[in-house]
């Protein structure tokens, strides 16, 4: 039994063992506290301001005059925001790890817009109305778009830059398709579908997005597997194969998991751009971990979405902005900075 690597603690439980990056664990704890604060703040502020004490009363199930405003109106939206953010952050971390490129994130490579196009298309043509079908439609669209980008970008191997460029192109085409479907749909359905075009939490609640909880719970064991497997795929290929890692299978599984999570988040809130791109990178810098930390990336994603939604609601009150506008305003400059500061040969 050797001592673990510097910066890591070994966790043992019988025969099972895992390595834990100490700083990541600390960062995750801090992020959790911040997220709880952001959620409470999000529940406090709105048309009427509610005191944090009253919010806690409602959350703990005690009788409170604010039950309607906090519990019925704001809570569902905030919870959906948290879930969406968790899914996007995790999805971004998984896909960026596989691609070894910070630019490869589900919103850049067409997954989000694919999910959105299928959902809006089915809604506009009156083929789906029940919220139960939305996740399936979103996953089908997201996975389809991801596969299509992969196929189109494949030419004598996969070139990261070609992959990203084709992803951007396909995103534009899918966005155009979404507009096309919106013109087709009749007024009411188009209105309903419009929610998915910029990424918005307006009017989303447990009815529309409650299924996201089940998706995330079901994904947990896979995420655990991916977190362990990640360690292998960050080596160069030869080392990984030498260590006995089934590289191809691990990559495919990880990428697929990321695509499914991103597609589900899109099904719930529409394409909220730049969260999946930025959250993993922020988490990476916070933890100074050698790899993108999965749990911290997910928590960062949730924090970003909740804060962006709070801003979107209150910035120009009473007008509510779509949350995607706020994430775009913050995330796009970050992407530009990433481009400008990239010193690596391959990753520009």
């Amino acid at each position: 039994m050797t001592t673990p690597l510097p910066g890591y603690a070994a966790l043992r439980c019988g025969r099972a063992s895992a390595l834990m990056h100490r700083r990541s664990a600390a960062v995750a704890a801090v992020l959790l506290v911040l997220l709880a604060g952001a959620v409470v703040a999000s529940l406090c502020f709105g048309e009427t301001t509610v005191s944090p004490g009253a919010v806690l009363d409602v959350l703990l199930g005690w009788p409170s005059p604010e039950q309607l405003v906090v519990g019925e109106l704001r809570l569902p939206r905030v919870v959906v925001g948290v879930l969406t953010g968790l899914a996007l952050g995790a999805a971004g971390a998984l896909i960026q790890t596989v691609a070894r490129n910070p630019l490869a994130s589900p919103d850049v490579i067409g997954v989000s817009h694919g999910a959105s196009a299928v959902v809006v298309g089915l809604t506009a043509f009156g083929l789906t109305t029940s919220p139960g079908q939305v996740p399936w439609a979103a996953v089908a669209g997201g996975v389809g778009a991801g596969l299509l980008v992969h196929l189109l970008a494949w030419r004598h191997g996969l070139h990261a830059q070609r992959f990203v460029l084709i992803g951007i192109g396909l995103s534009i085409a899918l966005g155009a398709l979404t507009s096309l479907f919106l013109t087709k749909g009749d007024g009411l359905q188009a209105q309903q579908a419009k929610v998915w075009t910029t990424g918005s939490l307006n009017g989303t609640g447990f009815d529309q997005a409650g299924w996201l909880v089940w998706v995330l719970l079901a994904a947990l064991p896979f995420l655990g597997w991916a977190a362990r497997a990640q360690r292998g795929i960050t080596f160069d290929d030869a080392t990984a194969v030498g260590l006995g890692i089934r590289l191809h299978r691990v990559r495919l599984g990880t990428a697929l998991l990321g695509v499914v999570l991103a597609a589900c988040a899109t099904g719930a809130a529409g394409p909220v751009d730049f969260v999946a791109l930025t959250a993993p990178q922020i988490a990476l810098r916070l933890t100074r971990s050698p790899r993108i930390p999965l749990a911290c990336a997910a928590l960062t994603g949730a924090l970003l979405v909740v804060l962006a939604d709070l801003l979107a609601r209150r910035l120009l009150a009473p007008t509510e902005l779509p949350v995607g506008v706020v994430t775009g305003l913050v995330g796009a400059p970050y992407l530009m900075w990433l481009l400008a500061s990239s010193r690596r040969r391959g990753g520009n």
Binding site: R155, L165, S179, P322, V326, G328, L339, N348
Partner: protein, 339 residues
């Protein structure tokens, strides 16, 4: 990076230009005749030549004629702007939309309308120019940092990031300002519907200026295609060419966007088609790009009217659907990546 010479040119270049002109006329005629009220071509021509009292005549003269004129001007402007940009940057995937110039112009126009309440194209087009220049300079500066300078891929990525940012900014302004939003809901999606004769007339001087600038830059662009040093050695004033070209692209993109909002991919796909037909010389390439761009946009707009009646699909949506496959084909060629 001028494209390869045309593989099987059997027609003389003048013949190709004449053919493109014929296609454009057909597109214009269809744009006048087809819609929720489709008028036979003979009647359409008659209505154009003789003012009469019939409903068909009114529809054609009052609604479709300005719309067709604007579509023609904007399509030609975008085709030209794309051709000039591809020559200037020697980048096969340059296009006003991809490099963020269109969104820059859009943000400038929206800001002008929202802040200063400018209501006429001649008033806000200048803000469109300013936005276009600012976006172009920023994108170029961004892409030029780091190793390897402004490669096609870095340019495209910087352009995409800039576009996303400016689009968010534009929707921020539009969401907060109901009046601006009302004026520009259709404009956002790059649609030609509801254009007035005034728009067409106001667009004309800018279009002519931009075209003149672009054609003046053509010989210099031919020399630039050989590389900076060779062009200098041949006695080309490369700085002058760059400034002329940049001015042309700005004026053309800015005025096109001010008239109809950002319309994607006309500037990307059209110059490539033109290069395939007449080869890499900009003296031929640019005029042909203008003709084909106008025809492409008019066809897209006409198709959008008959796809899902009574609703109209904005022309910009259809040009994107045609243009993206072109982009993907270009990216799959190794040259773009290796640059």
């Amino acid at each position: 990076m001028a494209a390869d010479t045309p593989r099987h040119r059997t027609l003389p270049r003048t013949g190709i230009l004449a053919g493109a002109l014929a296609v454009l006329l057909l597109a214009a005629l269809l744009s006048l005749a087809v819609g929720s009220r489709t008028v036979p071509l003979g009647h359409t021509l008659h209505a154009l030549l003789h003012a009469g009292g019939g409903t068909d005549t009114v529809v054609i003269r009052e609604l479709r004629l300005p719309r067709t004129a604007v579509g023609l001007a904007v399509g030609a402007a975008l085709g030209l702007a794309g051709g000039v940009m591809q020559g200037l940057t020697r980048n096969p995937i340059a296009d006003p939309g991809i490099l963020g110039v269109s969104q820059g112009a859009a943000a400038g126009v929206v800001t002008a309308i929202s802040l200063f309440g400018l209501g006429s194209l001649t008033g806000y087009v200048w803000y469109g120019f300013a936005g276009a220049v600012l976006a172009a300079v920023l994108v170029y500066a961004l892409a030029g940092t780091g190793r390897g300078g402004a490669t096609p891929v870095k340019l495209a990525l910087a352009g995409a990031a800039m576009s996303a940012f400016l689009a968010s900014l534009t929707s921020l302004v539009l969401t907060t300002d109901a009046a601006t939003m009302d004026q520009f809901r259709f404009w956002q999606v790059g649609s030609l519907s509801g254009r007035t004769p005034e728009t067409a007339w106001q667009l004309l001087p800018f279009l002519l200026t931009g075209t003149a600038l672009a054609l003046a830059a053509a010989p210099g662009l031919d020399a630039l295609a050989l590389g900076e040093d060779t062009a200098r050695g041949l006695g080309t004033r490369t700085g002058r060419t760059r400034i002329l070209g940049a001015l042309a692209a700005t004026v053309l993109t800015g005025s096109a966007v001010a008239a109809t909002g950002p319309i994607a991919f006309v500037g990307l796909a059209v110059p490539h088609a033109a290069r395939f037909l007449v080869g890499p010389s900009h003296r031929w390439l640019l005029p042909l790009s203008a003709l084909l761009g106008a025809a492409f946009l008019l066809f897209a707009d006409t198709l959008g009217r008959i796809l899902f009646p009574p609703a109209e699909v904005p022309a910009g949506v259809l040009t994107a659907l045609v243009g993206v496959p072109v982009l993907i084909t270009l990216v799959r060629r190794r040259k773009v990546i290796a640059a």
